[in-house]
Amino acid sequence: MSERALGRAFLTPAFVVMGLLALFPIVYAAYESLFDFDFFTRTDFVGLANYVDQLTSPRFWSAVFVTIAFTVVSVTLEFIVGMIFALIMNAAFKGRNVTRAVILLPWVVPTVIAGQMWRYLFEQRPGYINEWLGLGAIDWLGSGASMFWAVVIADWWKTAPFVGLLLLAGLQTIPNEVYEAARVDGATWTQRFRNVTLPLLTPSIVVALLFRSVDALRIFDLADIMTNARLETLSVLAQRSIVRAPQPDIANTLAVLTFVMIMGIGLIFIAMMGRDVVGEPEEGS
């Protein structure tokens, strides 16, 4: 056996385990989505009928819209603030370690607890946020656009530090010499940020945006906890279909459609911006 073949043989068990753990549930859900269900019992093979039902359902498209809107808005906000956090955490100043710890605290809080906390803050009784901001009786969680923003704000608070952490890791790989050279050439802070930091940080930015977008597209916990599932994202709809309904055919179909959407968006990301990230040896480790 050649060394190459031996290597393959040794890798096979690992790939089989990964395939079983990661691939099997997806493939099985896709398979089951082709059937009708009577309660939890699989009945007739219906082909793509479940997909036709979902793709023609206004409720499905409304959930798609909510999910994508949430992703675009929350990831944009998190990226901006995360970048600021990263620059602060990267700067050399007294008390930097304390600052870093404080910035990262929200990310350490489990999402369910963060959700409960924000729900309590947004609720009209006792009404902390309305009072602090002098807003009067704003109904943040009950209905309409306000609950979208309430969940965005909670997610923003929770995950901006995570984006900051990913970007910080990237910032630390930029050698100081490059900045010194730029400074010698008389570059201002803005010029250094635009011409040195941003280009060298691109791989980290792509990774951060990819991670966050994929994660945001799955948003379930905050919407479920804060608005009692009134903010109906794709994952909320799928969860309702399996737990509260229960209609496994619809839930499987929704899960597969969500998977395809997230996978597609992830691939577009990688194809558009990330050619230099994928397959490139990691730097500085």
Binding site: D36, D38, F39, F40, N97, R100, A101, L104, V108, E123, Q124, R125, A137, D139, L141, G142, S143, G144, L165, A169, Q172, N228, A229, R230, R240, V243, R244, A245, P246, G284
Partner: protein
């Protein structure tokens, strides 16, 4: 990694937090005395953990009386959806760990239709005339018993005696009273209840619907009557107007039972719709849960609409006990279910604790049984129990309920158009009556082709 001690520290911090969290968890096996000897354990009773101490007391009593056939109490999560999921899992995986299932009153049809629970029609004689009629109604599927009554729950009106002289008898009167009181006390909320998009909202909506003479189904549950007359629309538009005008509290649309109770208990509301559990807490039973209204509240039957054929209405809550079809201990399971429904022991435990029992004789002789501070509750329960209604336990009750939550919450809280929303709920009600709506649609299509 050595380049980045900070990341290392962050990971270390996480590890410490995880250890702290683990250390804060309950120590295992502290309270082992009550656990039955595993050798004598004959069967398992799976029931909500919401009233855990009551269930434990009932299980302990059974174990005292039946040393050879001990029951193991399996307390499920307090949330209804989670209990249902646990029972589904037991059935779908054919684990059969649960012999007796404590079913929410709205699940009878669904569980019976799915073949999860045994037909108990042959035990009808033991509960007919013994249990209250509404509870028996809720334990039936297609006219036959699939469970026996165990506990119940009624809603009634809590009101502030320092702000209101007499409790309102109609919704219109309640509406006007709130506006009048608010003229003097602009900061006080009017009516609080269960308005979040969940089962509690369905309970509240049905009370508005029924108290105008509206119905969801005909008596035999063969067709939806929701859109007969304008009752359904009147009920939801009353809620919408009351919410918009501030007769309902501004956060009515996100309230569950305890949000309403806390608001009323803090003295922030004039009226509240709630279950009996709130009464002792409002009266100051729990020192750690201070009350502002201990001497300033009373209870009364729920109002009805002016000119309605009924004076009051209450949606019934509660639990029925069913026997799992997977149970290998059918005989003792049935014995337990009958005992819990008809014996004075367990039923009096319910009367002394929470939730209320289903045995009618306890209501007749409540003065000798319930603690003195609970007596006013039973006085009002006796007024409302004849008019209390079970939510229709049809096979598709769950999807009907989800439609009410999803469609009608937006109508009263967000100004959605009631017309299409009620059409959608009506369709869900029609579908709730049949086994699998899709099959029926296909069958109808086949018939059309034949013609």
């Amino acid at each position: 990694m050595s380049k980045n001690p900070f990341l290392l520290r962050a990971v270390g911090l996480l590890a410490v937090l995880a250890l702290v969290a683990a250390a804060c968890g309950p120590a295992p096996d502290e309270d082992d005395e009550a656990a039955p000897d595993p050798e004598d354990t004959a069967f398992t009773w799976a029931v909500t953990g919401a009233d855990g101490p009551t269930m434990e007391a009932v299980a302990d009593l059974w174990n005292e009386e039946n040393p050879e056939q001990q029951v193991e109490l399996e307390l499920l999560p307090p949330e209804a959806d989670d209990q249902r999921q646990a029972m589904f899992n037991d059935q779908v995986t054919e684990a059969g760990q649960y012999d007796v299932l404590g079913l929410d009153v709205i699940w009878t049809g669904e569980f019976a239709e799915a073949g999860f629970i045994e037909n108990l029609e042959d035990m009808r004689d033991s509960v007919e005339g013994t249990s209250i009629p509404g509870a028996i109604e809720s334990a039936q599927h297609e006219g036959e018993l699939y469970a026996l009554p165990y506990s119940t729950n009624f809603g009634f009106l809590y009101y502030r005696t320092d702000l209101v002289d007499e409790p309102p008898e109609t919704w219109e009167e309640l509406y006007d009273t709130v506006l009048e009181v608010q003229e003097e006390n602009p900061d006080i909320d009017g009516y609080v209840g269960q308005g979040d998009s969940y089962e509690g909202f369905v309970v509240n909506y049905l009370e508005f619907l029924w108290s105008d003479g509206g119905e969801v189904f005909d008596e035999a549950a063969t067709e939806s009557l929701l859109l007969e007359g304008d009752h359904a629309e009147k009920a939801i538009t009353f809620m919408r107007d009351a919410f918009e005008e501030g007769v309902f509290a501004a956060d009515f649309n996100t309230m569950v039972e305890d949000d309403a109770r806390l608001a009323f208990q803090a003295g922030d509301a004039i009226f509240m719709r709630n279950w009996p559990y709130a009464y002792p807490l409002l009266a100051g039973e729990d020192e750690d849960d201070p009350t502002e209204v201990a001497d300033d509240f009373d209870i009364a039957p729920m109002p009805a609409f002016e000119g309605a054929p009924v004076d009051t209405i209450s949606t019934l809550g509660g639990l029925n006990n069913a026997v799992s079809t997977l149970s290998e201990n059918q005989d003792v399971a049935r014995e337990f279910v009958e005992w819990a429904a008809t014996d004075d022991g367990p039923q009096e435990i319910l009367a002394e604790m929470q939730p209320p029992p289903t045995k009618a004789s306890i209501y007749e002789n409540y003065e000798d049984i319930v603690p003195e501070d609970q007596a006013p509750v039973y006085e009002v329960l006796n007024l409302v129990r004849e008019d209390a209604r079970a939510r229709p336990p049809v096979p598709g009750y769950n999807s009907f309920s989800l439609a009410v939550q999803e469609e009608l919450h937006g109508v009263y809280a967000d100004g959605d158009d009631p017309g299409p929303a009620l059409e959608a709920v009506n369709e869900a009600a029609e579908n709730a009556l049949v086994e699998d709506p899709e099959d029926v649609i296909e069958e109808e299509a086949d018939v059309d082709e034949d013609e």
